[in-house]
Amino acid sequence: MNNDGCETPIRVPSAPFRPGESASFEEWSYSPSDLMMPDPLSCEPKDTIPHSTGLIRVLGDDGSRSGDWDPVISDSDLLIGLEHMVRLRIFDDRMMKMQRTGKLSFYMRSLGEEAIAIAQTMALEKQDWIFPTYRQPGAQFVRGRDMVSMICHCIGNVEDNVKGRQMPVHYTYREGRYISVSSPVGTQFSQAVGVAMASAYKGLDEVTITWIGDGASAEGDYHYALNFASVFRPPVILNVVNNQWAISTHANLASGSSTFADRGLAYDVPCLRVDGNDFLALYSVTKWARDRASAGLGATHIEVLTYRAGAHSSSDDPTRYRPSDEPDVWPGGDPIHRLRDHLISVGAWTEEKHRDLEGRIDSEVMAAYKEAVKFGDLAQGPYPSSDTIFTEVYSDVPWHLQEQWDEMNRLGGD
């Protein structure tokens, strides 16, 4: 049946395409020359009205870079970004395979969204705080995290720094100022404002970046974040990653509005809408937002337009709720291919080098994986000791936990 609500007494919107239909999108009319870059330090929120409804792009459909937002970044840095993206994709593929064999309980890929956290983190300074959801693991590569340690977390072995307490992909990496991922969606968005308020209070040049999904932006925390940011103007970058889906729920059901970006304007916060598969544009808007934040001008609200090319998670089967060709016909392209093709077109890279890179990273991931499983995996153990159930609940172990801990051990916890 047609679940478009127009014929029903109550209006219930629907996804644009459902299985059995064939998805088709109009070609993008957005081009890199559409939008000027306002001066970050003198820009007023209302100056960003065009930026909140248009789309900031740097990489054109032909792979060339242009426009006002074209950032200053060296090809060698771009190659680093490309490498991280390739790394993340291969890493994800490996983990997904391992999930199928029971080495992990669960997995979530960043497929199609690799550019986001990688480009944005590269645009920040080392002291800046990253407050991610489960789809920004790539930031850790930028911050230098050891892949073995990431895998140890995912496979829940004795070296997992989360100590087997949370599901895979709930990374924490204090050294890289990458804040612990939590499952309840949205909560980090408002918390990040507090992190940034503390930086401001201490007078430090620290910016906090955070993300929320198109789906999760319906939570109260979204409103808290924007509103507190609008009142206290802390140095925070608030990204809504609109990948068009929240599990099976299309963004049409997340909001009745056309863009997420423009929501920030009502809070008197500048708003940018950026092509989330365009590494250069992401880098550029993030630098712009950081410049403002660092100058004491407060938050920037960014809609990152992308497409969740894979399943929501290893538990999900998107063919049940969207046409299987939808990812392919979506006009935003693949973020890795787009940056690769650009670098090739300017002579900084070649197809062959790319294949070599993929090969090298594949080996790197395999090696890391082999190293990690030495410490155990979910299928076989060893797991973190069951003692980790009782530690770090509090800063100390209160008597009632100690009593229960003793009881567990008496009854033969390991």
Binding site: M1, I247, T249, Y321, I389
Partner: protein
Amino acid sequence: MVQAVNSALDNMLSKDEDVLVFGEDVGYFGGVFRTTDGLQEKHGAHRVFDTPLSEGGIAAIAFGMGLNGLKPVCEIQFADYIFPAYDQIVNEIAKLRHRSGGEFWTPITIRTPAGGGIRGGHHHSQSPESQFTHTPGLKVVYSSTPYNAKGLLISAIESEDPVIVFEPKRCYRGPFYGDPHKVPTWSGHPEAEVPDVHYTVPIGEARLVNEGNDCTVIAWGTMVHVCEEGIRQSGASCDLIDLQSLIPWDREAVVRSVKKTGRCVIVHEAPKTSGYGAEMAASVQERCFWSLEAPVTRVTGWDTPFPHTTEWDYMPSPQRIAEAIRGALEG
């Protein structure tokens, strides 16, 4: 059990056009646990639909619909995610009838999959029933089998009061006896024969799963099955009471049994401190003190967040239950 829930919703959607079903991913897709599969296609998108990802908003619109004459049945995707709706539930939904002098009320049903055993870690495993039992105005039920999952849900939808319905997600596909390496299905289980037609399991009535004379074991949700195994391992002869309804609970069944056995062990997954087992233990000793031959004890999750890899060391195991029963027998 998934089909039983689906069947309850299907029956009620067919029977009463004031019934609406909604929540995150429950519409087109049919729910992440498939409990609403096919219902949108059958009953229409105006009756079974997806909502924005906002538990607070879901509870709030349910409140309004219930006030305005409908019987909304909403799903919170995991019980762990019910807390953004906590204010709407405990301050608003629970109190409307009383606060308005009986002029308004909102007879809604909130369904939510709860409990551990699916490697869900901190936030896909919690069993927050006790945090709702402290709020007057709410009824709270917790199913354990396909039969009572359907019967309790229909009772909840037909109730004139708001009801929170916990469903033990670990048992959606089969009972769980405490051994993670065994994955039995429901087929052949006596409580798995679910009539297609409308029937109810009344709110407030417990189910006697097992009869015995040595000790009374009280449980709900997944733990009912784990207790069966725990009792077996203990070698004792026990009454096993599946509470089914937490508010109101079945005073007669509990008191009768404990007066008979003189001993009582309460089992739940949630942390011990201020879990619903505390209320049961407090009530049992208040009402049966002179019959008790041993303290009422509790076998529960530890007072820690719910872990991922070590969840089998967290959830009450048959061994722990058996040991508690033996402890009770020794007095």
